[in-house]
Amino acid sequence: MSQHAMQHAEDFRAGHALGLDHRKLGMWFFIASEVMFFGGLLAAFLHYKYTLGFPETAELNVVLVGINTMVLLTSSYTVVSALTAIRQGRQGRFIALLLLTILLGVAFLSGQIYEFADLYRQGVTLTSGVFGSSFFTLTGFHGLHVAAGVLWAIVTLFRGLRGTLNAEHNMAVEIFGLYWHFVDIVWIVLFTQIYLIV
C-alpha cells in the first residue's frame, strides 16, 4: 500500500472520494424505485389509452390542470431558492421560501381535489370504467406523493424554525428537494401523457 493511501486510510471511503453523501445516495436509490412504481401505473394507463382510445379524455379540464402544473413547477423553483438561501445562511429567506413551497403544494392539491370533484360530478369516477380506474389511481398516487412532500416540507420548516439548519448543515433540505423535484418531474410526464397527448 502506498504512503498516500496510508495517510488517507482513516477517512477514505470510495463514496466520500466520489463526493457523495450516503443519505443523498440512498434517496437516489429510493427515487429509482419510485420511478419504476409510477412506471407500472403509467404503463397500465397507456396500455388502455392506446387499446381503448379513452374518449373520456374530452372531459378533462386542461386549462385548470395546466395552471396547476405551473403551480407545481413554481414550487420546484422555490425549493431550489430555499436551498440556496440556507446555504448562504439566510434563515429568514429560507423559512419564507419553504413556506411558499408548502403553500404551492397545498394549492396544487386543492386544484387536484377540485378537478376530481368536478369529474365525479360528470360521472367519471374510480369505478365508472377503465379510464376512471387508471386515471384516478395514477394521478391519485401522485397526489399522495405531493401530500407526503408537503408533510416533509412542514417537518423541514419546523427544523428550520428551531434553528438546526444552517449554512453548514443543510443536507436535510437538499434531500427533501430531491424528493420534491422527483414528484414534480413525474407530474410533467403524467400531464403530458394524460392531458396533452390525446
Binding site: 471511503r13 463514496g15 450516503h22 429509482a32 419504476m36 412504481f37 407500472g40 374510480l126 370504467g129 377503465v130
Partner: protein, 537 residues
C-alpha cells in the same frame, strides 16, 4: 463476553435491534420458520398427489394449499433468507461497522413478521387460491383471503426495496480502505446485482398488486374484461417482476457458492471479474425476458422471438459462472466439508434447472410443456436444488462465524445426503410426468402418471426427513457445540478476520484491504492486514 451480556444476548433477537448481525439472524430464523410452514404445505400437496383421485383435499383446499406453498417459499423464505445473509455478511465482508442505515434496516426486518401473519391470516379468511402468480380474473373473483394475500406481498416488496436501498448504499459508501470494487467478495457482487433488480422490478409488482387490490376492494375496472380491462396486462406486470425475482433468488445464492469453492479448493477463484460481471449481465438481461412466461397467452407471434432469444442469451453469463466454478475446483485440494458438499450439489442440480430453462425458453417446446409438471420440475431444480442448496451451504459455512460454535460435520453430511437424494427423487420424475402431459395445479391426475407421482411423494418425504438432522445439528451445536476459532476454514475474506461471533461493531479497528479476497495457495500476503485480533477470548 460476560455472563450478563451472554444471557441478555438471546433476548435481543426478539426485539427492535439495529445491529446488522442481529437483524441478519432475525431474517434467517424467521424465514426458516416459514420454510418449514411452506414445506408442510408441500407435504399436503404431495400427500394428495400420492394417488390419482382427489381424496385427501377437495379442489378448493388443494388450490389454497398450493398457492400458499408457492407464496410462502418465494416471498417469505428464499427472498428474506438471502436478505438475511446480505444483512449479516455485507458489513463484515466490506470491513464496515454496520449497515449505512441501521434503523431502516431494522424496519425492513420488522415488516416481515406482520406480512407473514397477514399471509397466514388469509388462510382463515378463505385462502388465496389463484396460485402464486395470482392471475386475473381468478385473483379478482376469489375469496377474501386473496386481498390479504396481495397486501402481504406488497408489504414484503416494500421491505425488500428498503433492504436493497440499504445494501446498495452500504456497499458503495462503507467499504474499508483499499477495498475497491474489484476486491469485493463475489457474494457482495451478487447482492449488488440482486439489489439492482429489486429496485427496478419490485415496484412494478407493487403497482400491479395495487390494481388487483383496488379491483377487489373498491371495485375499479383494471381487469374487468366486460369494461375493456385486459388480464394480459396483469401477466405483464407480474412477470416483469417475477422473472427477475428468479434472479433475485439465485444471484446471492451464486455469490454464496463463489465464496465456498475457493476456500475448500484452496485455489484462487477462476475468472473473478467474469463471475462478478456475469451477475450484472444476468441482472440486466433478466429485465428483458419476462414475456417468455406468456408464449401461450395470445401474444403477437412476432413478439415471442426476441423474448426467446434474450432468455436463451442468459445461458451465456450463467455458463460463464458454472465453468468458472468448475475451473476453480479443478486440481484443487478439495475438502469435502458439508458446505462444500452442498455447493457441489448446487452445481449439479442448478445445472439441470438451468438447462431445462433453455428448453422452456424455446417457443415450440414451451407451447407443449407450458403449465405441465415440466415447469414445476424446472422451477424446483432452480429454486430448491439451486437456491436452497446454496442457502444450506451458506448456513453451514458461516455457522461458526454467526454462532461462535462448530456444527457436527457427520450430521451435516447426513443432511446433505438425504437432501440430495430427496431433491432428485422428488423433482426428476416430474420432468417425465410433465413431458407426458400431466398438468400442474390440479389435485387429480390420470392413472398413467401414478408411479412418477409416488416417486415424487417419496422424495418429498425424504426431503421432510432431511430437515430433522439439520435442525438437530443447528440447535444442539448453537447451544453446546465446540467453540469455533475466528477463522476455522482459513478463509481470506474480511468476515473471517474478526472473532467468532464478531464483537459489536465488528472490528476493533477498521481493517485495510491489501489484496484479492481469493489469493489461496499463492505465496503472497493475505488479503487483509489482521487489524483484528485472531480470536477474542
Amino acid at each position: 463476553m460476560t455472563t450478563a451480556s451472554a444471557s441478555a444476548s438471546w433476548r435481543r433477537y426478539f426485539w427492535w435491534n439495529t445491529d446488522h448481525k442481529v437483524i441478519g439472524v432475525q431474517y434467517i430464523v424467521t424465514s426458516f420458520f416459514f420454510f418449514i410452514l411452506g414445506g408442510a404445505l408441500a407435504g399436503l400437496v404431495r400427500a394428495e398427489l400420492a394417488s390419482p383421485a382427489t381424496d385427501l383435499l377437495d379442489g378448493a383446499t388443494y388450490n389454497q394449499v398450493m398457492t400458499n406453498h408457492g407464496t410462502l417459499m418465494i416471498f417469505l423464505w428464499i427472498l428474506p433468507v438471502l436478505a438475511g445473509f446480505g444483512n449479516y455478511l455485507i458489513p463484515l465482508m466490506i470491513g464496515a461497522r454496520d449497515m449505512v442505515f441501521p434503523r431502516l434496516n431494522a424496519l425492513s426486518y420488522w415488516m416481515i413478521p406482520p406480512a407473514g401473519m397477514l399471509m397466514i391470516a388469509s388462510f382463515f379468511a378463505g385462502g388465496a387460491e389463484a396460485g402464486w402468480t395470482a392471475y386475473v380474473p381468478l385473483s379478482i373473483g376469489g375469496p377474501p383471503g386473496q386481498t390479504l394475500w396481495a397486501l402481504s406481498v406488497m408489504l414484503l416488496g416494500i421491505s425488500a426495496i428498503f433492504g436493497a436501498i440499504n445494501f446498495m448504499t452500504t456497499i458503495i459508501m462503507m467499504r474499508a480502505p483499499g477495498l475497491s470494487f474489484w476486491r469485493l467478495p463475489l457474494f457482495v457482487w451478487g447482492m449488488i446485482a440482486t439489489s439492482t433488480l429489486i429496485l427496478t422490478a419490485t415496484p412494478v409488482l407493487t403497482s400491479g398488486l395495487i390494481m388487483v387490490a383496488l379491483d377487489r376492494v373498491v371495485g375499479t375496472h383494471f381487469f374487468t374484461v366486460t369494461s375493456g380491462g385486459d388480464p394480459v396486462l396483469w401477466q405483464n406486470l407480474f412477470w416483469f417482476y417475477s422473472h427477475p425475482a428468479v434472479y433475485i433468488m439465485i444471484l446471492p445464492a451464486m455469490g454464496i457458492i463463489s465464496e465456498i469453492f475457493p476456500v475448500f479448493a484452496r485455489k484462487p477463484i477462476f475468472g473473478y471479474r467474469m463471475i462478478a460481471m456475469s451477475s450484472m449481465a444476468i441482472a440486466i438481461l433478466g429485465l428483458t425476458v419476462w414475456a417468455h412466461h406468456m408464449f401461450t397467452s395470445g401474444m403477437d407471434p412476432r413478439l415471442r422471438v426476441p423474448y426467446m432469444v434474450s432468455s436463451m442469451v442468459i445461458a451465456v453469463p450463467t455458463g460463464i459462472k458454472i465453468f468458472s466454478w468448475l475451473a476453480t475446483i479443478w486440481y484443487g485440494k478439495l475438502r469435502f466439508t458439508t458446505p462444500m458438499l452442498f455447493a457441489l450439489g448446487f452445481i449439479s442440480m442448478f445445472l439441470i434447472g438451468g438447462l431445462t430453462g433453455i428448453f422452456l425458453a424455446a417457443i415450440p417446446v414451451d407451447l407443449h410443456v407450458h403449465d405441465t409438471y415440466f415447469v414445476v420440475a424446472h422451477l424446483h431444480f432452480v429454486l430448491f436444488g439451486g437456491s436452497v442448496s446454496a442457502v444450506y451451504a451458506g448456513l453451514y459455512y458461516w455457522f461458526p462465524k454467526i454462532t461462535g460454535r462448530m456444527y457436527d460435520e457427520k450430521i451435516g453430511r447426513t443432511h446433505f445426503a438425504l437432501n440430495f437424494i430427496g431433491t432428485n427423487l422428488a423433482y426428476l420424475p416430474m420432468f417425465i410426468a410433465g413431458l407426458m402431459g400431466m398438468p400442474r395445479r390440479v389435485s387429480a391426475y390420470d392413472v398413467s402418471f401414478t408411479s412418477y407421482n409416488q416417486l415424487a411423494t417419496l422424495g418429498a418425504l425424504i426431503l421432510a426427513a432431511s430437515t430433522l438432522p439439520f435442525l438437530y445439528n443447528a440447535v444442539l451445536s448453537w447451544a453446546r457445540g465446540p467453540k469455533a476459532a475466528a477463522n476455522p476454514w482459513q478463509a481470506l475474506t474480511l468476515e473471517w478476520q474478526t472473532s467468532s461471533p464478531p464483537p459489536p461493531e465488528n472490528f476493533p479497528e477498521i481493517p485495510t484491504a491489501t489484496g484479492d479476497p481469493y489469493d489461496y495457495g499463492e505465496p503472497s500476503a493475505p488479503a487483509a492486514e489482521p487489524a483484528a485480533a485472531p480470536a477474542a477470548g
